[in-house]
Symmetry: C2
Subunit: 262 residues, 2 copies
DNA sequence: CGCTAGCTTGATCTCACTCAATAGCAGTGG
DNA sequence: CCACTGCTATTGAGTGAGATCAAGCTAGCG
């Protein structure tokens, strides 16, 4: 299907440092409880759809390596992404309470995932209130992301949308230590970006050229190169607050120009 | 500010039949636990902003009567709605785990709300797993709504968006028994609809005219009149699945043309 | 070495926006 | 009672951001 530039992933047990993104906030005990709830580690090829809209789900998926997406299909065969997931994200934890999903879940690149049977999550909920609240929080982050995507589609121009999305991707990559705000992996095609920002691939191309020619950033062959973060942030009207990142870690370097009002 | 056509609301204790929308699914005991978690019932005038973006919140708000909205403010003074809430919605339950909100919460009409201190919700979480799961579910519904709003903005034309939004409003009103799929209260101005569907008020006007002239539906003076639900549903490409409504109650009449694949 | 997926650029078109003007209606005050 | 104000709805004319259509280019891969 898509041929991405990544070597083959081995299904090793090596999830410690990506559990729930903000590992620092988990106690060793909690991390252990989570680890023991994993029923299986799996490698899934790029392009594969893990869950179809409407299907009943009995396990939830933690993304360990690679990029996954969630998207809705339209009548005319088009689709639109509603989220892009990076390692550490609990991709479909909401399936635990919802039972069936209102969208598809797919692997954009080859991915490694850890599966959590809902029975195991149920056990956590029965026995561990703080960890449950932590999981709840994760699903709420998701909703916060969604809201910002609504804002992006509703209120920004094509250029702003793309800049905003790149800022978001950078900030999240930064939070899990795979960006330094100068360069990070970004294995999305221009068509993929179009499906995020609701733009034609042609127009995405033009916008990326604009960003490149303005020496703001460059998106090419699977990664983003940021030349001028402050201008990228201001172009995208990006305020990282909605990511609820730990202020001590990622916030400053993600959107440092935001002298917010608190 | 806005002058809406509604009599004055009295702050009486009368929340039983709107608790969490799907009262039928709550046991009497659960309903009682919830009732006892309410610290205060308040009436709030139309146009009032209850919570500002970034503010720390210590109570969550259940909407008992009226319409509330959640919206993000843009740099240039515009705003965009991310949700419209009807009675029975737990407007900012997510504030319990998030602590601060990434958006404003406001009263569109005069509203009556029941306030739940987070300490009380904490107590529920400590002691009542099924009810906690139920609350969790409510916040996930929210995210499902958001996803559909993303889809609407990304993939539908102006006419389709408005039709879709009207279908959604009808389906949700139906679920709480305030619509019969022919007529329901809808106290949004054309500008408000524009802030939901990301359209100018002028264009909303034209679209509503189209719907009226096609004898599909009429939106006027605070209510919607539906002439032809099947065509409204097909015009808006509306599939009610994402609302996770009880199939026995509201689904059939909300979007009856959907012979879904299960 | 040809195939296919992805990227690039130009030309044209269109949906929805902006600007502008008018009308209706509720409440307010002289 | 009517004039006045402010908000909402309506309709027309001109404009523009981004879509679509079309063609050519590049590079990895079998």
């Amino acid at each position: 299907m898509r041929h991405r530039h990544n070597g083959h992933i081995e299904p090793t047990m090596h999830t410690q440092n990506v559990l729930l993104n903000r590992t620092a906030e988990l106690s060793p005990v909690e991390r252990d409880v989570l680890e023991r709830s994993i029923s299986e580690i799996k490698v899934i090829p790029a392009g594969h759809i893990l869950v179809r809209q409407g299907e009943e789900v009995k396990v939830s998926t933690l993304l360990v390596e690679g990029i996954m997406t969630r998207h809705v299909d339209t009548a005319d065969g088009h689709r639109h992404l509603v989220t892009v997931h990076i390692p550490g994200d609990f991709v479909d934890l909401h399936g635990y309470a919802l039972k069936r999903l209102d969208h598809d879940v797919g692997a954009l690149t080859e991915v490694r995932v850890a599966l959590f049977p809902h029975a195991a999550i149920e056990r956590i909920q029965d026995s561990n209130v703080p960890l449950t609240k932590r999981l709840w929080f994760c699903t709420l982050l998701d909703a916060a992301l969604h809201r910002q995507w609504i804002f992006r589609l509703a209120s920004l121009t094509a250029l702003q949308r793309v800049a905003h999305f790149i800022c978001e991707s950078n900030a999240r990559s930064l939070a899990i230590g795979v960006s330094d705000s100068r360069r990070f992996a970004f294995p999305l095609t221009q068509a993929d970006i179009g499906e995020v920002c609701s733009l034609s691939n042609v127009h995405v191309n033009r916008v990326l050229r604009q960003l490149r020619e303005a020496r703001i950033c460059e998106v090419r062959s699977g990664h983003v190169e940021i030349f001028d973060l402050p201008r990228l942030v201001s172009t995208g009207l990006f305020k990282p607050d909605y990511l609820y990142l730990n202020r001590l870690t990622a916030r400053r370097s993600a959107g440092e120009d935001w002298s917010s009002d608190d």
